[in-house]
Symmetry: D2
Subunit: 476 residues, 4 copies
């Protein structure tokens, strides 16, 4: 009965379906129950079928267990790519925007709004069913994605809710073999955080944030999470006229230090990550880009932290995503990637699925150059359906297209690195410095060497960018 109802959502025009008794039935939808509705009953398991398939529910390029070698390192595609599905977008995305109401009517949102924990359980099951159908190994979540706040902000109830949902997630993880890439706390949605969380001028709000961070760290540890992310959506300011930037940044650093100390104390060895974004929702966010985050980490001596680069945030900050990855990589700060893309004509975070092969290849070149991800790193789909895409099938099309693009990018980047032609072009450019160290040479020494040339060089060698781009284009 529930299945039939759900099926009608999954195709054509969405209709408001009122479940009958099924509703109360699914109330027992937890890990131990076989009664939980199959939300994706009409969707086949997505498997690798190769480039010639006409099946849209198949991978043309992503072959999870195919081994790809980069120089001397050989790994399966799933190990290089470490795809992760984001709970907030895929399960909780409702299609609201600043000018309009929600458009999605997902089949897992059928319990009465008043029964928050029932809805939470349905969603968690939907998440693991989705991972299963799609063949993705990892997931990510915010605390509030998976468990509702207690009534009226009651802190004990909030804690109970989170613990219950972590328990269910743990059972589902064990049953499925799926793993948690990273957890995070939502410190931006509640009105209490409108003026900041770690940077709030209100101590009670700061304390609330600290509590959420502690509980999310505990939850992540319980679920075997490899990483923990801070995204400072409200950590910034709207006008300097009412803001004490120095105080706010000191408070933020204190919160990060406290989190790091707590991880040590409870013996969690995962990776802390900061996720830069230049603005939105804050008019000006402190973690503007990789440089702002790196500078902050250095200033406050926060050594357990790396950076989670989101591609759409990179472009909003005026950089290409590859730039931000490379800038982090060269400072040993590249931890993980929120894989998505923006609309080049829009000035806000559109979180679209990246499906572009040349771009995928540029990103994978940086990742492979550093030998792939370490602990806590992966390609997390911080990407959402367009508001106008309302079918359950659309969720699959989007992930499939992006997974295939990244798999093609992986193979193209591996070929580029293995062939070496581009690398040779780069190496040749710096050959005049071979065997010459700048260490220990004073400015007077360098100037004397220059004077000895008698004539300053009138030109320098062509950078041959178009040759490099032509070479690149033969791989994509």
């Amino acid at each position: 009965m529930a299945r039939l109802a759900i099926r009608s959502f999954a195709s054509g025009v969405a209709l408001l379906v009122l479940f009958g008794s099924a509703l109360f039935h699914v109330a027992s939808c937890d890990a131990s129950s076989s009664e939980c509705p199959d939300f994706f009953a009409d969707i086949p398991y997505v498997r690798f079928e190769g480039n010639q398939t006409s099946n849209l529910f198949a991978f043309r390029h992503y072959d999870a267990d195919e081994v790809v070698c980069v120089r001397d390192t050989c790994r399966k595609q799933r190990e290089w790519l470490r795809f992760s599905v984001a709970f907030w977008h895929t399960i909780r995305g409702e299609g609201r925007d600043p000018f309009g109401e929600p458009t999605k009517q997902w089949p897992w949102e059928t319990a009465p709004a008043s029964d928050k924990m029932e809805r939470a359980k349905l969603r968690m099951n939907a998440m693991f069913q989705f991972l299963d159908k799609l063949g993705v190994d990892w997931w990510c979540f915010h605390d509030r994605d998976i468990a509702p706040e207690g009534e009226g902000g009651d802190l004990k109830e909030t804690e109970r809710n989170l613990l219950a949902m972590v328990g269910l997630a743990k059972e589902l993880q064990q049953a499925s073999g799926k793993k948690l890439l990273w957890a995070t706390a939502n410190l931006f949605s509640s009105p209490r955080y409108m003026n900041g969380a770690g940077t709030s001028p209100d101590k009670a709000v700061f304390l609330s944030a600290a509590l959420q961070v502690k509980q999310a760290l505990d939850a992540g540890k319980e679920l075997g999470g490899e990483g923990y992310v801070f995204w400072g959506g409200r950590e910034g300011y709207a006008t300097l006229l009412n803001t004490d930037m120095g105080v706010e940044l000191d408070h933020l650093a204190a919160l990060f230090r406290a989190a790091s100390g707590y991880a040590d104390k409870i013996g969690w060895r995962g990776q802390f990550l900061i996720e830069p974004k230049p603005r939105e929702p804050s008019a000006n966010q402190y973690d503007y880009d990789v440089s702002a985050a790196a500078s902050f980490l250095r200033q406050h001596n926060l050594q357990r932290f790396k950076i989670n680069v989101e591609c759409n945030h990179a472009t909003l900050s005026g950089h290409s995503c590859a730039h931000e990855l490379e800038l982090a990589r060269t400072q040993d700060l590249l931890g993980s990637i929120d894989i998505n893309r923006g609309d080049p004509q829009s000035g806000w975070d559109t979180d679209e699925f990246l499906m572009d092969l040349p771009e995928a290849t540029r990103l994978m070149l940086v990742l492979l150059e550093q030998g792939g991800f370490e602990r806590g790193g992966g390609l997390n789909f911080d990407a959402k359906l367009r508001r106008e895409s309302t079918n359950v099938e659309d969720l699959f099309y989007a992930h499939i297209a992006s997974m295939d693009a990244m798999a093609r990018g992986l193979k193209a980047a591996a070929a580029i690195l293995n062939d070496g032609a581009l690398k040779d072009l780069k190496t040749r450019r710096y050959r005049s410095f071979e065997g010459y160290s700048l260490e220990g040479r004073s400015l007077a020494d360098l100037a004397a060497e220059a004077m000895a040339m008698e004539v300053a060089p009138s030109h320098t060698e062509s950078a041959s960018q178009e040759k490099a781009e032509l070479l690149f284009s033969t791989y994509v």
Copy 2:
């Protein structure tokens, strides 16, 4: 004779005037000569006349010797503002743009193009005449602005040229009492620097840059310069496909370290400054913004450096100018300001004169908050006439309008700080943290304090931005 000819340039439609014998006469235009033409003979000395004057060649607001007090500190306007004229724009600006040829026909560009040193002397005299007429105390220059490269890049001749022009400048400084705010080396115009200077992949180019830096430091010291600026116009990259970012940044840090060591060695106590810009001419510049520069300085432990914020560069990097100033100030890195503005609709560096009172006030608020400039700091007019402004008078209108705007901004900012209403609003916002230190509190402690509230705060206090803006608007 020369004067007559020049006068015709200075008004109405510019005409191509062919100097006759006058040309060879001005060839003896150096500090010791009284024969040098008066390039601004038709322009009156610009003096403070107050807001009611109808004279466009007067200051309505800038009264150099008027004392302005901010809290307990009282200084003359000239000391708070430390205006500086930029040799490159005001004397050397020719009105070329990427789509068109030069439009200016300045009277000091009348010597034959072949006689480079004569032209250089005329320009230097024009500079000091301009400072004199306008009543500005400081100037700034690049090495190549004031002295031509030797023929075919001959390094000895280059050095001789620079020394000669520094000698002339020193005499003119002594005669006039004008002072050098900072010097810098032009490491971007020559084709040799097309792939970078400190980051060039070509060692010979790197050495050429090092030589220029040494000579410019020597020149700055000789002229009593208070600062030395690095602007890395070509220190960046065009495509990652041919770029080794890690190597390039290490080279750049080595150059900065060498410069710092050399300053110690020769006993120059001035301030080193880095000037961020996100792009242009480089597609991607390493010193993107204050955060990128600060991060680099910290990573490479470059302690003698502060930051020279250019307002147009700030906005090109996606920040307000006040943001960049405040971000530098809170890290004790705010050294100097290149005062100008961009066109909000254009995506390149337009270097327009800032004439907007509210913006001037926002900038001065930050500057006054840190107690004004220290050694090497000032308001340097890195601003140029529009290409279509070709009269000598236009140079004066532009500087006058901007000096008046900054002087109004100074007085408005002082009033805001002295009145205290805005400060009170800000202080009140943080009052819940009074007497509460985050030092030494563990995450578990903070979480326990939060749990003791039993209920998370549902809201937080209004940030009252519009009230702050209304207050601000009563001053401007």
Copy 3:
């Protein structure tokens, strides 16, 4: 009782106040009832007190009945400026953003959510109380701002709701003397419009839009509205891969033509207005800017339409607001202005209150050049409090600051036009064309005239932009 409760909202930290019996009492809050709570009891009437006042609830510059003369035309400030308050932002703004929940707890939102018509009546009363306290003559609304849709989209109930609220508004207008500047239909919030309204690929949705337009036109006529605005928030596309642009634009033109015909039929003589915006919510909106709207109007021969320029939309489309106003004015298409501003660093519609005198003056210069507004035109505050501003007082500070800025701009622009110095500078630039008509001269004629010069002009006169800006700055 209600007043006490409301007072507590209007200051300090907002609290969730649960009204007791008061709630049901206000249920009779309609025009005939004196029982309606006074939502702004603590706010004094805002009156002109002049620049020296320290009262923040007073106008320093806006003196509604002061007469301002521009050349030969003399009008009161209220007639030049025709301020209008926007129902949607001021009364319905809830502080939601894409990353967070509502933050406002306005005292007029106290009826149970289930009693939609009661809430609607409270809001309408709040609107007229606000207009009264602030001293603004005009208001604007969307159909859905003032009246809720019928349950489950029931069309008869929707109509009844709208008629009821129009009736109440009419009574309140008559009692207060306030007037309707323009009405509009909300064709963007409902999920039905996610793919467009007039451009929806779904006929049923197109029909729904046509019905709303008809009803909103009827409502506007009933209330004596001077204008009717189309804002095509969803009239655009997200990807060309699924869009037939030609068909969609033809449908949109058909809707506009039908509306125009209906106005003729019912004898409504008001002004139709199109409001351009480049994107958001649509990824690409058809009415991108004034040129796109003008081109569309010409292509489809829609002659009863002018343009409503919103300043924040102007800057999002890459133009200054003054540019859009002037471009519309020179084509006799400038109808009305949504007065606000964007954040120069943000790429979305921030709808901030314009409080900047130089900008206000630039806008008023264009408006005064065309002799002020005609029927249907005014300065409508399409501006909202920042999400973090949650006090009732903040609504007043924001409007007061912007009204004062616009009044200062009016007076500065009038002085500029009356003094004539800037106009002279402009006129002088074109003097070579005086008495010379291009009409009837063939290219061969023009070329022959040119050849007769023998030598092409090497230069042309200075545009003296900085002189013009200096002159401008003496007025602001």
Copy 4:
């Protein structure tokens, strides 16, 4: 001798080579002379070799004579694509930028600077040699690209120079079979045009522009040019304070009308084209984008004009290139394409070679939808080498990479259109309007139809953007 010298330029580090007697030898380089140096002696003829070749001087995808069918229309690739090389970038590009001097030392720039006509002849030969080596059929030029102005602006000499070079070009065209796609006049480089050409406030400047247009039309006709382009680089304004927009736009329209009349008079049947750009060099250009140009054409009833869309200009105006093409196409205004791309992070015109397959496919989809180019239309490479690319080989790499990308895009777009899956998805979305005409239905009729539904639709069908994108990605 000359050849040897040239060869050294074409590879490795460029050197300043001083030609000896060779210089005067090449002075006889005109069409009738076999003495002209072979500037590309070291470069092989570029031919189609297929995707497996390792030869960088070969096409992998562009097979000029391969027939590609779109629905029922079959044409050779060269006929669909109509590639054209731009004289200004490829032959005249010198690598200057706003911050630096020229970097290129092309072998055809070896005549003494004083011998302007000799240099012009060398360049013209280089152009045709380049077309020959690359296998491109078409070229485009500005008047000043191919012939120098007369000394001191002497108009008769200017005319003689142009006629001489047109004569040489005609001979070279006849000898080679190459054809002129379109001509244009450079109305932006000379300082005389700094305030505009057709919009200059100076009548003498306007006349100079008219003369250039006449001569360029004559030249285009003589060379059999299919089109004539107006690019209004200086037709705009810098500040409204000194600008009469209405007068300027009327003047511009008068110039366009005169040109159109002249074409009729001399019997030239080619296509006039306007090329939009939002800004740069003008701060605000009147032909901002396709809508601005279309609106202007309609307002002034200029019926012989279509639009030349430049991709980089499209993105600078806030649109995708495909958007501008489609917007022009649906109004029957799409004439030609300047094929290039911008840097997504830069806010100015970078004119890079488009090498991206997905983008090429998006553009070709629009072009093929309208059945390819008509008279005067083609893919003109308004694209330049990066400033740092200084080898002659780089010119080839750039064009080859872009030609291959466009050829791949052509084939992918043809496959998409021939397969029909994407088209079906689009058609299905509009199916509810099948057989339903909006013509003649009044708003009252439409509203009555809506009321008959009784309930407004709560939702509408999924737009399935991700499905469309997934389908698209299987072709690229």
